[in-house]
Each structure stands twice: as structure tokens, then as C-alpha cells.
């Protein structure tokens, strides 16, 4: 499939359930074939609604969804040929694992021997080859999850939708399944649209992540861009840990800006999402990008901060400071040999490279 023709395409899609509130506002999203795209967002942000519209369980109120080059708004779900993994797996409790997997093949009129071959292959893929005769209730949560994945793949759809498929698993199993799903995606080359509210899951698995909030995609980019180059304050705050402090723009020049913090100090930041001189902005700064008592001043902004609390976490020391008008200013100090001693109540210099501090849209 060429770049010009994305495999899945949302074109100006809007959705309202009650005719009063738009749950999805003007969604435009292109997904090339073979990509792993995650829709990430807090609950109520519209991500699951988008998935349901793509699967065909909810009609779009406005706009068109394309699969390949076909508009699918009027195609019923069972003719879309999209595999789906549900939050609670939705394994049919009255059928054995094998029967569950055979179901999509059976309704397609496939004959028995072919069915058995495909079911066997799909079960082997998720390493459950010997479990065909078990009932779903006899499996552990992780095994049920694998069966659900196998069932969504067994009829060889080109697109798989996953709706928070790992939500019910414990942390360790969840991490293991993340890799397994990622490997299955890589080896089969199917397109995956994945919905989750867990950012680490999204960062681990995805090629691209669409961050949803309030029915709008806030940012669509690769995991590293999302973390390191958030477009707005919501994304900066939602993905990873973030220090934010408010200020007023003094000047903007060459993609950089001078900001007068509410605490009175003046710092430099890269101007990402700001208005002109005199407008308010929220600065975003990752805790691990901050140095205490920086040796060099070149290209750095430096302010002073008072150490309020230092928590020893092994590989790093998490330090809460009062700085830049915030008492929740977090600095992660790597536990290297000979790092600056952190005494509570002491005032130190803290600094960061201008490029690491991003001036974004003001929050409140």
C-alpha cells in the first residue's frame, strides 16, 4: 500500500451519543498498513468510541471511515473482516478453546479439516497448542488473553483492534504480554489499533501513539517524540513525569523564548506552543534533565531551589524542591559516585539545557 493511500483512515469523524455533547470532535487519522497505532488517553476521552466506530459497533455521527479505499460507514461489523480483542476477552464460555477459535472460520463456511489446521496453527502461535479442549473458565487470565489474541488472528484479518486487552492482568504478566503482542505484530505484519489508558504500555508497544483528550487527538507521534517533544501541556503532563511552572513570555526569537517565572526569575525555553510577548505560558521540564549545581553555564538556564525532601530510590534519588514558584519541583539525581550531597533545607543551583525546557500552552 502506498503512502498516499493509508490503510485505515478517519476523515472528519464526529460522534455524539445524545445530540448534545460531541464525544469525538473532528477526528482525522491515517494509519498505514502494518503499523501499530495506540490510542492513549484518560477514560472518557473518546478513544474507545473511535475503536467501536472502526469495528462497526457504533455509527459515526458525521464523517467517513475508510478501510483500504472503501468507505465502511454502511458496512455491518461482520463484513468488515476486522479482528478484535476485548477488554475481558469475551471468550464464549460455553465453547471450548478450540471451538472458540473455530467459530470465525465456521461462520465463513470453511470445511472441518482446514479449520482444524488453522486453529492448531493459531494456538501454537500463542503457545497453547495443548489447550484446545479446555473450557475458557479452566484457563488462567494470561492464557485466556492469549486465546483471545489467537481468536482474533485465526481468520487472518489485516486489521486487529485491541480494547485495553491487558487491563485485567497483573503487572508482571502485563509486561510479558506486551512483548508477545508486539512480536506477533512484527512477525505477522498486521495493522494493529490498540486502545489503552496505560502510557507505559503505549510507549512499549507502539509505532505511533495518538494521545486523546476531550474527543480530540492532542498529539500523534512516535513514543520518543511524545515523551521528549510534547506539543502541549496536556501531553507533557499525561506522558511521563513532568515539572511544570508558569510564567509570562518576555520575548520570542528563533524558536526560543525568554520567560519571566512567577517566582521572578528569568529562564530560557524552546518556544513550542506559545503566543507573543506578554502572554502566559506553562513550561514543561522532565525531572531527569535537570542538573544540580551545573558545572557549565553555556546554553543553560539556572535558577535556585531549596531541597525539601530527598527520597533514596537506589538508582536515583528523587528530590522534591521549591523552585520556580512550585513546591512540587521534582529532580531525579542519578546515583553516580560523587554526586552532589543532598541535604534537606539547603538551597542549591539547578540548571537545564534550553532545548529541554518547552514552553507550552498555559494551563489555567
Amino acid at each position: 500500500m502506498s503512502e498516499a493511500q493509508p490503510f485505515v483512515r478517519f476523515d472528519k469523524v464526529q460522534k455524539s451519543y445524545d445530540g448534545e455533547i460531541l464525544v469525538v470532535k473532528n477526528l482525522n487519522l491515517d494509519i498505514p498498513a502494518g503499523e501499530f497505532v495506540t490510542m492513549l488517553g484518560p477514560s472518557g476521552s473518546g478513544k474507545t468510541t473511535c475503536l467501536m466506530m472502526l469495528a462497526g459497533f457504533e455509527p459515526a455521527t458525521h464523517g467517513e471511515i475508510f478501510l483500504g479505499d472503501q468507505p465502511i460507514n454502511n458496512v455491518p461489523p461482520h463484513k468488515r473482516g476486522i479482528g478484535m480483542v476485548f477488554q475481558n476477552y469475551a471468550l464464549f464460555p460455553h465453547m471450548s478453546v478450540g471451538e472458540n477459535l473455530a467459530f470465525p472460520l465456521e461462520v465463513r463456511g470453511m470445511d472441518k479439516s482446514e479449520r482444524e489446521t488453522k486453529v492448531k496453527r493459531a494456538l501454537d502461535m500463542v503457545e497453547l497448542g495443548a489447550f484446545g479442549n479446555r473450557m475458557p473458565a479452566q484457563l488462567s487470565g494470561g492464557q485466556q488473553q492469549r486465546v483471545a489474541v489467537a481468536r482474533a488472528l485465526v481468520f487472518e484479518p489485516e486489521l486487529i483492534l485491541m480494547d485495553e486487552p491487558l487491563g485485567a492482568l497483573d503487572k508482571q504478566l502485563r509486561e510479558q504480554m506486551q512483548y508477545e503482542i508486539k512480536h506477533i505484530h512484527e512477525s505477522l505484519g498486521v495493522t494493529v489499533v490498540y486502545v489503552t489508558h496505560d502510557q507505559s504500555e503505549a510507549l512499549t508497544m507502539s509505532d505511533r501513539i495518538a494521545v486523546f483528550n476531550d474527543g480530540v487527538i492532542q498529539q500523534l507521534s512516535s513514543p520518543s517524540d511524545l515523551y521528549e517533544r510534547p506539543d502541549n501541556s496536556f501531553v507533557a503532563q499525561f506522558i511521563g513525569e513532568n515539572n511544570r511552572f508558569d510564567g509570562t513570555i518576555l520575548s520570542v526569537r528563533n524558536g526560543k523564548c525568554k520567560v519571566k517565572l512567577d517566582s521572578g526569575e528569568t529562564v530560557d525555553a524552546s518556544a513550542v506552543n506559545v503566543g507573543g510577548k506578554g502572554t502566559r505560558t506553562t513550561l514543561s521540564l522532565r525531572p531527569e534533565r535537570i542538573e544540580i549545581n551545573p558545572k557549565s553555564k553555556a546554553g543553560r538556564s539556572i535558577i535556585s531551589g531549596k531541597i525539601e525532601e530527598a527520597i533514596y530510590l537506589g538508582d536515583h534519588i528523587r528530590t522534591r524542591m521549591s523552585a520556580g514558584g512550585s513546591s512540587e519541583f521534582i529532580v531525579k539525581v542519578p546515583n553516580t559516585s560523587g554526586h552532589t550531597p543532598l541535604e534537606e533545607g539547603k538551597t542549591v543551583k539547578i540548571g537545564w539545557l534550553t532545548g529541554d525546557c518547552r514552553a507550552l500552552d498555559p494551563i489555567a
Binding site: H78, A90, H94
Partner: protein, 421 residues
């Protein structure tokens, strides 16, 4: 390993050397007594008000000592009678003595009734003989009795007599399935015109099955709506389902009479519309049709509620999963939804079926001739004919039938799979 950790459990002791089991029993005794005290009032009430009377009632189906007690002198001698011809003078003497005393005790009527149940048309033998018993002052009593009523010279009459004086009997059960004990103590069918109970049992089963079937057909879609509609509408629907449930059974049954009888609302409408001529008004009441309609309506909630509670637990994602895998709406419903509701269908069906097997009020009011069920005949024998033994036998058969169905259901579906709510 220390030596305390490998003691066999029966030797385990607490610190002060008392066995652990005894100590545990002592510790929990107080709680056990308190729990027992809490359920005791209900338990005692159930035993006195429910189990004991029912047990005593069921016992009557095999135990009928009345006749033997009234005619006790005869009964003692009857055991030795060889069953040939008519008994000898000694027995006739005993009969006269028994009847004389029965007349004083005013128990002749009771004896006559008992005898009449198993040998119809013989009531007058006892009452008439009783009236004239004082004329027999001296023997031989054989001729005297036969003179008063020639039944006393009847061989068959005496065979019956011999059977009736025994306190334990199977005749009520035989009677319940349209058999009786024949002339030579062999088991024979009742004469054609008295074979009613088997037919009634079969009719009861068939009608219950039909009613259960209609309840499934009508209840399934309603339950589905209840389980899937938005809360606002499903609450309203639930009230509509429960409203008749809270209304008196009698009121509901009699309103069906108003609606369906020959001069009723429905007939007036179809006649008014010219669909049916005035002379051919539909007969929908006081027959099996009327019983079926009214009972389906009354028992419908018993189908809907267990179905609803099962459907409520089936998340919509199952149907969605089936659709996403390529099943159309109908296939998804048939292959995925319906199988998961079967425990509810089973629970509802068994509930409706068992209730309708024993249903009394509605068939009694609207059943007419063809809509009577077995419970109505049991009530008849309890209240009118006072043949409690037969009523008890019929009821016991009904009870065993229900238990058998329950057992069958458990074998096939499993009671654990049944969900009432």
C-alpha cells in the same frame, strides 16, 4: 526439623495439654448454639406447621385404619377367612356386634363412606343394616343380615370387606392410576367410565408443557429487552412485568373471565368488527384454552425473572466479539447468546412447569370441564368426596413426579447451572 512440627494431627494439643479438637469444639460451641437458637423458631414452625401435617396426609395414601377400627371384632376374625363363598356364622355375629356398637357410637356413617369409596353403591348396605340392627336379637345372624340386605350374601362384597379391614392398603394408589383389585385379588383396570386419573395426569402434564412453551416464547423477548434497554426504559418495563405479580391471583383470573367469556370484551370486539357472527361467538373461557391463556399470563413473571437475571450477566461484548468474527446478527444470537441463556431458560421452565402442574385456583375458576387439572380433582377429594386416602395418593404421585422432573433436570442441565436471580 524440630519435633513439634511433625506431630500427627490427632495428637495435636494446645499448651495446657487438652486435645486441639476438643478445644476447638469448645471454642465454637457458643457460636453454634447461637446460630441454632436463631433458626430454631422457623425450624419448629416448619416441622409443626408443614412437615408433620404433610407427612401425616401422605401417610393416609397407604394407611386407612378407620373401617378396621370400627369393625374391630370382625376384623380380627376376617384374617382367617379363606375367601371362599361367604364367611361363617362367627363372623356374622361379630358384624352384628360391631354394627350395634357403631350405631351407639354414631360411626356407621363413616364406615359406610369408607366402604363406598372402594365398592361404590354399597353405602346403603351399612346405613340400612344399621337402622335395623336392633331387630336382630338372636342368631343365626347370617340369615338375618342377608334378609336385611342381600349384599351380605354377596361373595364380592365380602372380599372387599376383607381388604378394607386391613389398616395398610395399596388400593388408593391403584385407584390413582385407574386400577383396582379384582374378584380374585388380581389387579385389573377400572371399568372404562371410571378411568379418569391417568387421563387427568396426562392432560396436566401436556397443558403444563404447553404453558411452559408459551412462557418461553413470550418471556424471552421481554427479558431480552429488560436486560438490554437503557435503564430508564427497562425500569418501566420491569414495573409492567411486576405489576401483575403484585396483583391478587383471583383478580387476575377473574379479569380474564371478563375479557374472554362469550359475552366478554374480546368477543364483543370481534363481533363488532364483523369477523365473527353473533351466534358463533368464540368459546375462550371455561375450557382448556381459557386455562392456558390465564395461566400463561399468571406464570409469565416466573419465566421472565430468572431469564432476565441470566441475561443481565451476559456482557454485550460477547455478541460484539461474535459479530467481529464474521457472524451475522442471527448467527451470533443463535450460537453465542442463546446458549448462554439456557440456564435461565431451564430455571424458568422448571419453575413454571412445577407451578403449573400443581396449579389450582385458575383452572378451578376458568377451566370448565376440559380445563381441569389434577390439583382440582385432589381438591375435590379433599373437600367434597372426603376420600382423603385417594387425594393423598394422587398428591403423592404428583409430588414424586415433580421430584423426578427435578432429578431429571439436575441430570441433564445440573442444578448448579440454574439461576433464579
Amino acid at each position: 526439623m524440630t519435633d513439634t512440627s511433625i506431630q500427627p494431627s490427632d495428637l495435636l494439643e494446645t499448651d495446657d495439654g487438652v486435645s486441639l479438637k476438643a478445644k476447638l469444639a469448645r471454642a465454637t460451641r457458643r457460636n453454634k448454639l447461637r446460630a441454632l437458637g436463631l433458626v430454631a423458631p422457623l425450624g419448629i414452625f416448619l416441622i409443626i406447621g408443614f412437615l408433620w401435617p404433610i407427612g401425616a396426609m401422605l401417610l393416609r395414601s397407604v394407611h386407612a385404619p378407620d373401617f378396621g377400627e370400627i369393625m374391630y371384632r370382625t376384623a380380627a376374625l376376617m384374617e382367617d377367612w379363606d375367601g371362599e363363598g361367604i364367611p361363617d356364622e362367627a363372623i356374622f355375629t361379630a358384624v352384628v356386634a360391631d354394627l350395634t356398637q357403631a350405631k351407639e357410637d354414631k360411626t356407621i356413617g363413616r364406615a359406610a363412606t369408607r366402604f363406598n369409596f372402594s365398592f361404590p353403591g354399597t353405602r346403603s348396605v351399612f346405613t340400612r343394616t344399621g337402622r335395623k340392627i336392633n331387630t336382630l336379637t338372636e342368631g343365626p345372624y347370617t340369615e338375618g343380615l342377608i334378609e336385611i340386605n342381600d349384599a351380605w350374601g354377596n361373595h364380592e362384597f365380602w372380599l372387599n370387606f376383607q381388604r378394607l379391614v386391613k389398616p395398610f392398603t395399596t388400593r388408593f394408589y391403584l385407584n390413582s392410576v385407574d386400577y383396582q383389585v379384582g374378584e380374585n385379588n388380581e389387579i385389573v383396570r377400572q371399568p372404562e367410565e371410571r378411568q379418569i386419573y391417568v387421563r387427568l395426569f396426562i392432560r396436566t402434564l401436556i397443558m403444563s408443557a404447553i404453558i411452559t412453551g408459551f412462557c418461553i416464547l413470550l418471556g424471552y423477548p421481554v427479558s431480552y429487552l429488560l436486560a438490554t434497554l437503557p435503564l430508564r426504559y427497562s425500569n418501566l418495563l420491569m414495573i409492567l412485568v411486576l405489576l401483575p405479580f403484585w396483583t391478587s391471583l383471583l383478580v387476575r383470573t377473574t379479569s380474564w373471565i371478563t375479557l374472554l367469556q362469550k359475552e366478554g370484551v374480546l368477543n364483543d370486539i370481534v363481533v363488532g368488527l364483523g369477523l365473527v357472527s353473533d351466534e358463533n361467538r368464540l368459546q375462550m373461557m371455561f375450557n382448556a384454552t381459557g386455562t392456558t391463556i390465564a395461566m400463561v399470563h399468571i406464570l409469565l413473571p416466573f419465566m421472565i425473572l430468572p431469564l432476565f437475571s441470566v441475561m443481565k450477566t451476559i456482557p454485550p461484548s460477547y455478541m460484539r466479539a461474535a459479530r467481529s468474527m464474521g457472524a451475522n446478527q442471527f448467527t451470533a444470537f443463535r450460537r453465542v447468546y442463546i446458549p448462554q441463556t439456557l440456564p435461565g431458560v431451564g430455571a424458568g421452565s422448571i419453575l413454571v412447569f412445577i407451578l403449573s402442574i400443581g396449579f389450582y385456583i385458575t383452572p378451578a375458576l376458568v377451566g370448565g370441564q376440559s380445563g381441569q387439572l389434577i390439583s382440582n380433582i385432589i381438591a375435590y377429594h379433599m373437600q367434597r368426596s372426603l376420600n382423603w386416602g385417594l387425594a393423598a395418593a394422587l398428591a403423592t404421585i404428583l409430588l414424586l413426579g415433580v421430584l423426578f422432573l427435578y432429578w431429571l433436570y439436575n441430570k441433564i442441565v445440573g442444578v448448579d447451572n440454574m439461576k433464579f436471580g
